[in-house]
C-alpha cells in the first residue's frame, strides 16, 4: 500500500492526447467515454425535466405554448430513455468492470466496443440535430397514426437516432455475453461470479434479443411516414394498435435493461458494506434471468384499454404478476443480507438503502398497474408516471450513483469527499420522494399525463412535485461538482478502500491498462470476506 503514493503507470497515464482516447480499445477508457457522454445527455434530459416541472407549476399553459411543451416532454423521454438510462450502468460501469470482475484483460471484442460508443454518439447527435432543427412532439413512445401521419415534426430523424443508438446497445450486449461465457479467469465458475455479472448477463440477453424489434418498428414508422406503405394507418388498411404491440415488445423488456444492471450494483453494495455474502446467492442470480425471460411475455399490459382482446389482457395481466416474484425475491434477499452483517454507512450504501426502498415502492405500485381493473383508471395518468420514475430514477439512477461512488476510486484513483456525498445522497432521496410521491395521488385523482395545461384542482400536488424537483436538481448538481473536484483534489485511493471482495479490487486504483499483472486464479466463492481477511493478514505478514 505504501507504493500507492508513487505515480505508477496505469490506464489513465499510459498514453496522452485526444487520439489516445478517441481510438482507444481499452474497455476502461471506453467506459469513461460513455460516462462523459451519458452525463451530458442526463444534464440535457434534466433541463427538459426542469422546464416541464416549471410549466406545470401553474394550471394554464403559460411558460411555453403547447407545441413547445409537447416537444419538451418528448425530448425528455427520448434522451433519458435511449441516451441515458439504457446505456447508463451497462455501458459505463459494466464496460469498466465486467472484464475486471471476470479476471480478463478486456472485453471479447474491444474494437466492437469502441464502435458501440461511436454508434451511441452518432445516434445522440442525430437526435440532437432533430431537436435543434425543430424538435419532435410524438412522445418517446412514437404512437401511430399520430407519429406516421399527423405530426409535423422531425419524427424520422429522431427515430433514426434511437435506431442507431439501438445498435450500440446490441453490440454492448453481444460483447458482454461472449466475454462472460468465454473469458472468465481460471476457477471462476458461473456460481462464483459476482451478481453484478449475472444481472448484466441477463440484461445483455434482452439487449441482443429485444433491440432488433425496436429497430424494425422504427424503420416501419419511418417508411410509413415517408412512403405511406399502410402498415399502421387505418386509412391505408393498416392497424395503429400493431405499432403498440411491436413497440412494447421491446420497450417493456427495455425497462429491465435499465433496472437489471442496477440490481447488480445493489447486490455488490449491500454485500460489501455489510461484509456478508449476498443471502440466497443462487436465487438472486436466477431471479435476474427470470426477470429477463418474463419481461418478453408481458408487453400487452401497456394496452389494457387499447382495444386489444379482453382475453389477451387477462393473459398479460396474469403473466405480469410473475415478474413481481423474482423482484420480491431480490428485495427480501438484500434485506436478509443485512441481518447479522457488519454494516457501515458510506455513501454507496446510502444509495443502496435508497434503492431498496424506492424500488420496493416502484415495484409495489407496479402491481397496481398490472391489476386490470385498477389500470383502466390509472393508465396514462400521473400514477403511471410516478410508478416508472420510482423504478427508473428511484431504482436505476440511485443504483447508478451508488455504483459510481463505489467504483469512483477504482476508476479515477481518487476518493470522493464523503461528507458532501452523504449530504447529496440524502438530498436526492428527499427531493425524489417529494417530486414523485404527489404524482401517485395526482394520478389516482385523474390527472392525465402529457398535459400542457390542467384544471385548477390538481395544482396543489403539482406545486409539491415542482418543489421536489428543485430539491432533486440541487441533489444532482452537488455530485457533479465534487466528483470533478475530486479528480484533482480527492484523496488518493488505495487498491481496495471499501474492503470489497471482487477481482477488480485486487488490482491497483486506477488499474493498469491490462488490468492484472498476472491473470488471477479464483479459489473461492464470491463475497468471501473471511478469505479476504486472511489474504490481507497474509499480505501484511509478507509485506
Amino acid at each position: 500500500m505504501i507504493t500507492a503514493t508513487v505515480e505508477q503507470k496505469h490506464y489513465l497515464n499510459a498514453e496522452y492526447g485526444l487520439k489516445s482516447w478517441l481510438l482507444t480499445t481499452d474497455h476502461k477508457r471506453i467506459g469513461l467515454l460513455y460516462l462523459g457522454t451519458i452525463t451530458f445527455f442526463f444534464l440535457l434530459g434534466g433541463i427538459f425535466a426542469t422546464l416541464i416541472r416549471l410549466e406545470l407549476l401553474t394550471p394554464p399553459g403559460d411558460l411555453t405554448n403547447s407545441e413547445t411543451y409537447n416537444k419538451f416532454f418528448t425530448l425528455h423521454g427520448v434522451i433519458m430513455v435511449f441516451f441515458f438510462l439504457i446505456p447508463s450502468i451497462p455501458a459505463t460501469l459494466g464496460n469498466f468492470l465486467i472484464p475486471m470482475m471476470v479476471g480478463a484483460r478486456d472485453l471479447a471484442f474491444p474494437k466492437l466496443n469502441l464502435l458501440s460508443w461511436y454508434l451511441l454518439l452518432a445516434g445522440g447527435l442525430l437526435s440532437m440535430w432533430a431537436m435543434f432543427a425543430g424538435g419532435v412532439d410524438t412522445g418517446w413512445t412514437f404512437y401511430t397514426p399520430y407519429s406516421t401521419t399527423y405530426s409535423n415534426t422531425y419524427v424520422i430523424a429522431t427515430a433514426l437516432g434511437a435506431f442507431i443508438a439501438g445498435f450500440s446497445s446490441i453490440l454492448t450486449g453481444l460483447n458482454f455475453i461472449v466475454t462472460i461465457h468465454r473469458m472468465r479467469a481460471p476457477g471462476l465458475t458461473w456460481f462464483r461470479l459476482p451478481l453484478f455479472v449475472w444481472s448484466h448477463y441477463a440484461a445483455a440477453l434482452i439487449m441482443v434479443l429485444g433491440t432488433p424489434v425496436l429497430a424494425v418498428t422504427l424503420v416501419l414508422v419511418a417508411l410509413e411516414r415517408a412512403f405511406r406503405i399502410g402498415i399502421f394507418d387505418p386509412a391505408l388498411g393498416g392497424d395503429p394498435v400493431l405499432f403498440q404491440h411491436l413497440f412494447w415488445f421491446y420497450s417493456h423488456p427495455a425497462v429491465y435493461i435499465m433496472v437489471l444492471p442496477g440490481m447488480g450494483v445493489i447486490s455488490e453494495l449491500v454485500s460489501t458494506f455489510s461484509r456478508r455474502r449476498v443471502f440466497g446467492y443462487g436465487f438472486v442470480a436466477f431471479s435476474s434471468v427470470a426477470i429477463a425471460v418474463y419481461g418478453f411475455l408481458v408487453w400487452g399490459h401497456h394496452m389494457f384499454v387499447s382495444s386489444q382482446s379482453v382475453y389477451a389482457s387477462l393473459v398479460f395481466s396474469f403473466l405480469s404478476f410473475f415478474v413481481a416474484i423474482p423482484s420480491a425475491i431480490k428485495v427480501f434477499n438484500w434485506t436478509a443480507t443485512l441481518y447479522k452483517g457488519s454494516i457501515s454507512y458510506e455513501t454507496p450504501m446510502l444509495y443502496a438503502f435508497g434503492f431498496i426502498g424506492l424500488f420496493t415502492m416502484g415495484g409495489l405500485t407496479g402491481l397496481f398497474v398490472a391489476t386490470l381493473g385498477v389500470d383502466v383508471h390509472v393508465h396514462d395518468t400521473y400514477f403511471v408516471v410516478a410508478h416508472f420514475h420510482y423504478i427508473m430514477v428511484g431504482g436505476t439512477l440511485m443504483a447508478y450513483l451508488g455504483g459510481l461512488h463505489f467504483w469512483w476510486p477504482k476508476m479515477t484513483g481518487r476518493m470522493y469527499p464523503e461528507g458532501w456525498a452523504k449530504l447529496s445522497a440524502l438530498v436526492i432521496f428527499l427531493g425524489f420522494n417529494l417530486t414523485f410521491f404527489p404524482q401517485f395521488l395526482l394520478g389516482y385523482l385523474g390527472m392525465p399525463r402529457r398535459y400542457h395545461a390542467y384544471p385548477d384542482e390538481f395544482q396543489v400536488l403539482h406545486v409539491l412535485s415542482t418543489a421536489g424537483a428543485s430539491v432533486l436538481a440541487v441533489g444532482y448538481l452537488i455530485p457533479l461538482v465534487y466528483l470533478v473536484w475530486s479528480l484533482r483534489y480527492g484523496k488518493r485511493a488505495t487498491a481496495n478502500p471499501f474492503g470489497a471482495t471482487g477481482l477488480e479490487w485486487k488490482t491497483s486504483s486506477p488499474p493498469p491498462t491490462y488490468n492484472f499483472d498476472v491473470t488471477p486464479a479464483v479459489t473461492h466463492e464470491a463475497y468471501d470476506y473471511r478469505a479476504l481477511a486472511e489474504e490481507e493478514t497474509e499480505g501484511v505478514r509478507v509485506g
Binding site: 386509412a235 456478508r276 420496493t360 393508465h379 384542482e457
Partner: protein, 344 residues
C-alpha cells in the same frame, strides 16, 4: 364543486366503488410491505452496524425455507390481485344489455357526442343518473382515450374501429371528461364535462334541444343523399344485398366465411366495400371513403339498425333495442344465411 382541491376523486359510478375497493386492498398490501422493508432495513442497519473496523461477521447461509416463504406468500397475494382485478375489468369491458346508448367521435381536439334522439354536443355529454350508459366510440384522426376519472373508466378511441365504454352514474353533477391518450398539440385542451341529471331533467333536456330528428332519421336522409337506395332497394333486390333486418345477423361471404353484421362490418362495407363481399353478389359497390364523416357513418349504422322490419324512425327505446333485433334474426332464421338474396 369540481374545482375545489381534493386528494381523492369522487366516486360517481358503480364502477368507481368496485375499483376503489380493489385499490384500497392494493394500498394496504403495498403499505404493509413498504413498512416491512423500510423497517427491517432501519432495524438491521442500526442493530448490526459495524463496531470494529476489521470485523468479519459470522457467516449466515441462505435458508431454503425462507426463500420458499417469500416466494409463495407474494405469489398467493398477487394471484388474489389478478383474480380480483380481472373480475373488475370484465365488468368494465362488458356493457350490460339494458344500457342507454350514445355515440362519441373524437377528433383533434374535441369530443363530439350524439344521442339516439338526435341531439349533438361538443365536449359535453348529458346522461341520466341511475341507469347504465354505453358509448360506442371512434376517432376521425389519431388515437384518443375517453376518460372520466370520477367514474374510474377509460377506453381508447381509435380511427377505423369502434370501441365501447360504459358506466352507471350513481350521483348527479358534472364530472370531468379527459382525453388520456396523447393526441397532438392541444391534447390537454381535449377535455369536457359529463352532466349527470335526474331522469326527469334529462328527459326535458332531450326534448328541449334543437335536434332535427333522431339519429336513425338523419341516417335515412344521408342514405338518400348518397343515393345508397338506388342499389340497396327493398322492392327490387338482386344487384345489392337487402339491408332490412341485416344488423346483428351472420352474413355468408363470397369466400365462404361468415361474419356478424355489426357496426365494424357495416363501416368497413361502406369505406372498403371490396373487403367482404356477400355471397351471391358482385363487387360493384364504390368506396364511400372520404364522403361520409364518422358521425354520418354512425347515423347510417343507426339507420341500418332501424331497418329491422319495422318502419324507420319508429324504433324501440334504445335500451331495449338489442332484444327485438335478436328476435328478428331468429324469425328470419330459415332464409339465412347468404342464400336469401339469390332465392329472391
Amino acid at each position: 364543486m369540481s374545482t375545489t382541491f381534493r386528494l381523492f376523486p369522487q366516486a360517481a359510478s358503480t364502477t368507481a366503488n368496485s375499483v376503489d375497493a380493489l385499490y384500497f386492498f392494493l394500498v394496504a398490501v403495498a403499505a404493509f410491505f413498504s413498512i416491512l422493508i423500510f423497517g427491517l432495513i432501519f432495524f438491521f442497519a442500526i442493530r448490526h452496524r459495524r463496531r470494529v473496523a476489521r470485523e468479519v461477521p459470522q457467516e449466515v447461509r441462505g435458508g431454503l425455507t425462507l426463500e420458499i416463504i417469500w416466494t409463495v406468500i407474494p405469489f398467493g397475494l398477487v394471484m388474489v390481485m389478478f383474480a380480483w382485478g380481472a373480475s373488475v375489468y370484465l365488468e368494465v369491458a362488458r356493457p350490460p344489455d339494458n344500457a342507454l346508448q350514445a355515440y362519441v367521435v373524437g377528433k383533434q381536439w374535441m369530443w363530439k357526442t350524439q344521442h339516439m334522439e338526435g341531439q349533438r354536443e361538443i365536449n359535453e355529454l348529458h346522461v341520466p343518473v341511475g341507469r347504465p350508459v354505453k358509448l360506442t366510440m371512434t376517432s376521425e384522426d389519431v388515437i384518443h382515450s375517453f376518460y372520466v376519472p370520477d367514474f374510474r373508466v377509460k377506453w381508447d378511441v381509435l380511427p377505423g374501429k369502434y370501441t365501447t365504454v360504459w358506466f352507471h352514474p350513481t350521483r348527479t353533477g358534472k364530472f370531468r371528461l379527459f382525453c388520456a391518450e396523447y393526441c397532438g398539440t392541444k391534447h390537454s385542451g381535449m377535455i369536457g364535462w359529463i352532466h349527470v341529471m335526474e331522469p326527469a331533467a334529462y328527459e326535458s333536456w332531450l326534448s328541449g334541444g334543437g335536434a332535427s330528428g333522431s339519429l336513425a332519421s338523419s341516417g335515412e336522409k344521408l342514405f338518400q343523399d348518397l343515393a345508397c337506395g338506388n342499389c340497396h332497394r327493398v322492392d327490387q333486390p338482386g344487384r345489392c344485398p337487402d339491408l332490412t333486418g341485416l344488423f346483428g345477423k351472420p352474413v355468408r361471404l363470397a369466400d365462404g366465411r361468415s361474419v356478424v353484421a355489426d357496426e365494424a362490418y357495416i363501416r368497413e362495407s361502406i369505406v372498403n366495400p371490396g373487403a367482404k363481399i356477400t355471397a351471391g353478389f358482385q363487387p360493384i359497390m364504390p368506396t364511400f371513403q372520404g364522403l361520409v364523416t364518422e358521425e354520418g357513418m354512425l347515423q347510417l349504422i343507426e339507420y341500418i339498425k332501424s331497418l329491422s322490419g319495422r318502419p324507420a324512425g319508429a324504433q324501440a327505446p334504445p335500451g331495449t333495442a338489442p332484444a327485438p333485433e335478436r328476435q328478428a334474426a331468429g324469425e328470419r332464421g330459415p332464409s339465412l344465411p347468404g342464400s336469401a338474396p339469390e332465392k329472391r
